[in-house]
């Protein structure tokens, strides 16, 4: 069970940038330990993509459960989160110091670059997410709702899901 903890600690520690960046590393570790076959691993990626939450947590929970039940799931999940806990607490001190220093102006530039990162994420996601006219419709209605009303994004997401069930299940 220690191997499980340390493996996921390592995965958590060496995955910068989140999400898809960690898939190759996870794949290597999991296959090397014979915890899952390639096909089972792909299933987890699919589940992680379709369910809420970070893929690293999803994979840790699933694999931990397969190996040692609920205890394994908890241990693996804690392992993958532990590096974040340690590093973020250190970073929060550094961030406070940086803000008080004369280099604080750098943060203004960084905020603009982060906006560019978010825009880049949109460009990359449009292809896989929007594949037909119904998808375009859902995207445009969402855009109108979020820009012009105060409806919570959570309700909008649920609404889009229901629209998906109706449109793809019964109409198209």
């Amino acid at each position: 069970m220690w191997t499980l903890f340390f493996t996921f600690f390592k995965i958590g520690l060496f995955t910068i940038g989140g999400g898809y960046a960690m898939i190759p590393l996870m794949q290597e570790e999991i296959i090397a330990h014979n915890w899952l076959t390639q096909a089972e691993f792909l299933n987890i990626v699919a589940i992680a993509e379709m369910t809420p939450g970070p893929i690293s947590i999803n994979a840790a929970t699933f694999i931990g459960h397969q190996l040692y039940g609920v205890a394994g799931a908890s241990l693996a999940t804690f392992g993958v989160v532990a590096p974040s806990l340690i590093i973020m607490v250190i970073f929060s001190h550094l961030l406070a110091k940086l803000k008080a220093s004369k280099y604080a102006v750098a943060l203004k530039g960084i905020a603009i670059t982060v906006t560019a990162l978010i825009a880049a994420a949109v460009f990359r996601l449009v292809g896989p997410a929007i594949t037909n006219y119904a998808d375009i419709g859902i995207a445009l209605v969402t855009l109108a709702l979020v820009a012009k009303t105060k409806i919570s994004p959570i309700l909008i997401i649920l609404g889009a899901g229901v629209a998906g069930v109706v449109l793809y299940g019964y109409i198209l």
């Binding site: 958590g12 520690l13 995955t15 910068i16 940038g17 989140g18 999400g19 699919a46 993509e49 369910t51 809420p52 939450g53 970070p54 690293s56 947590i57 929970t61 699933f62 799931a73 999940t77 993958v80 989160v81 590096p83 974040s84 806990l85 590093i87 973020m88 607490v89 929060s92 961030l95 280099y103 102006v105 750098a106 943060l107 203004k108 530039g109 960084i110 905020a111 603009i112 670059t113 982060v114 906006t115 560019a116 990162l117 978010i118 996601l125 997410a129 929007i130 995207a139 969402t142 979020v146 919570s152 994004p153 909008i156 997401i157 889009a160 998906g164 069930v165 449109l167 793809y168 299940g169």
Partner: protein, 185 residues
């Protein structure tokens, strides 16, 4: 205690609706943390995202921990972290235990097919909102376009280097701009 509960429930909600990776949580998080609770302003929110996305680990979890720390110290860290992790933990655990086959059930597939375009639209709206607020002069517009081009067109370039570079260039630019004025005095 009330604050800790707010931190926990806020990130629990965010964790429960982060379908499609870290960026999908931004719209939900921004509305909650910036617009509703007023814990951070938009500039601080972007700084937080810059840090959490340059550090190892899942962005959603990092952000929950960092904001938890800033709002309520170490208890806030635990509240934020648990909140961000529990939804996926519980969902995956129940899939593992009960619903191995849920993903071959067609209404579930259709539900997520409908969610995906909406999530892209929500993220696009965040980018638009941020851009309108932060891009105010030629320098910021250029910085935005160059960052975007680097990320989209340079394969294998990790975002962390673009973030670092942008910070350094901005610091140098700001210093260079100040110099002439100081000399005039």
């Amino acid at each position: 205690m009330r604050l800790l509960w707010q931190i926990f429930s806020s990130f629990f909600k965010i964790g429960a609706f982060t379908i499609g990776g870290g960026y999908a949580m931004l719209p939900v998080m921004q509305r909650d943390v910036v617009d509703r609770l007023g814990w951070l302003d938009e500039q601080e929110f972007m700084e937080t995202i810059a840090v959490t996305q340059s550090a190892p680990g899942a962005i959603a979890v990092n952000t929950a921990i960092l904001i938890g720390k800033q709002m309520a110290g170490l208890p806030g860290v635990i509240a934020g972290c648990l909140g961000a992790v529990l939804p996926s933990f519980l969902i995956i655990l129940s899939i593992a235990v009960f619903f191995q086959n849920i993903l071959s059930w067609s209404p579930a597939i259709n539900f997520f097919a409908g969610v995906r375009p909406a999530v892209v639209a929500l993220i696009a709206h965040v980018a638009w909102k941020m851009g309108r607020k932060l891009i105010g002069n030629i320098y910021s517009l250029l910085l935005f376009l160059i960052s975007l081009a680097l990320i989209l067109f340079v394969p294998g370039l990790h975002p962390i280097w673009v973030i670092f570079g942008s910070g350094i260039v901005t610091a140098i630019w700001a210093t260079a701009q100040k110099q002439p004025k100081e000399e005039a005095k």
